[in-house]
Amino acid sequence: MSAVATEVRAEIRELPPVNPLRRRWTRFILPTYTILLILYLSSPIFVMILYGFNAVPTPPGRQAARFYGFTLDWWRNVFNIPGLPEAFKNSLIVAPVSAAVSTVLGTLFGLALGRYRFRGLTAVDFVIFLAIAVPEIVLGSSLLSMFVLAQAPLGLTTILLSHIGFSIAFVAVTVRARVQGLDRSLEEAAQDLFATPLVAFYKITLPLIAPAILAGFLLAFVLSLDDFVITNFVAGQTNTFPLWVFGAQRIGIPPQVNVMGTILFGAGLIAALANVVVHRRRG
């Protein structure tokens, strides 16, 4: 008994000693790195928020490096700049409609992919994968090729049609992920209790996948609101918010762009926090 104990003790002694000082020091490398990288990633956001309050004397000149002092003028006159209201209005028309339509189409698609095995599944999977992986410029230029061949007038309609197209795949994979994680026995239990498949779906499955549908909708909304490349190709003379900003930068960044950016950022932040809270509450 004690012989074994001595042997074990001897073995423990042979293990290389851990230098406590070194361990303590290295422990901080990764968290420090993470925090620094997060700060670096956020730096354009800090600059944007700050310069939305910059009292530059002659707007809309170039965004001055100097900070002239604090003003709320740009917040008060956020739309007092030619072109921005129309462009922003267009974005606010396209984003919800595109998100709504692509959520319906993408949810059905995601349900099919997540629940069923069928012939052609691999091919459909690959198309979805391509729709996500293909460079935006290829999508944009191919859509423009089609609209030119069809002699379709470019404008809000072509923007909307294109946005729905690229959002479907994202909604589909979001919903599919949730459907695959579902416990099928819940729905089967409902059917054992004489619910028709449709009622079982409506009462059991739909509420369970609702968070994914909402997440898909928000994702589609943001993708549409922020899209520059594809919209750039299919917009013709119509402006959306990102297109207008891109055009306005030739004369510098008007402070109002920073204010609009800050507002959109705040809205996104609230939506994301709400999402986190909802998830927490569901456990």
């Binding site: 790195y33 997060i38 198309v127 293909v134 460079p135 992920a177 920073n258």
Partner: protein, 282 residues
Amino acid sequence: MVPYGLLFPGGAYLMVFFLLPLGLMVYTSLQSGGLFSGGFTFTWEFRNYADALTSYETQFVRSIFYSVIVTFAALLLAYPMVYWIAFYGGRWKSSLLLMILLPFFVSFVIRTLQWRFILGDNGPVLGTLKGLGLLPDEFRVLATPLAVVAGITYNFLPFTALPLYVALERIDRSLVEAAKDLYATRWQAFRKVVWPLSLPGVFAAFLLTFVPATGDYVNASLLGGPGTRMIGNIIQTKFLTENQYPEAAALSVILMVAMVILASIYARILGTEEATRAAAAA
């Protein structure tokens, strides 16, 4: 029958607004003529491809070169951070992930413009350093390849971070414990257990970063100069400014074919699951 019924509306939509345009772009790329000289006619004009490749070889090579650097830089930057969050983030995990993604709530164009401002020749960084005499007056970052590569790396970092996070997060912690019980050092446990298990995520991250980065033109046009034009800039100008649709379409088809081949090889070997799961995690 049910799955086909569910697939039909979205599938039909994708046929008309995703697959059909890709086909029609090939058709456009074989046309000849000019917008203001009698329009375009379909003439099996394969010369467009030969012209495109010979005239813009530099931009193709440059795009791929930049994109390779971007992809490796993004992987190197993101991996340690995402690893730490996935393994040691504890209850802060989702909040930290949110903090990585937050900057990307701001419009792509605005973010890139802010970088142009920050890195400007007399902007807050360079201007200050020059004022202190730490940098020569003619020193610049904008209009250099560095600015473009850094801009693309920044803008596409979520596409790298998310697949990595999804893969790392899924790794069973007890495997690492087991390695340590068998006297593996932390580094050995990482190299022999965590790294191999995270490889699917690394490959997905590679694909999801490399492919869009190759086609990007926004960073090159806002942060770059004449010497940093990428193939996307050429396609954009030819389509939208010069209205030379057939040539532009030929360039875009070449880019598309290259990327679809890459994506197919990836999907063939590793499946599409990992990459699309990352999109779902967003």
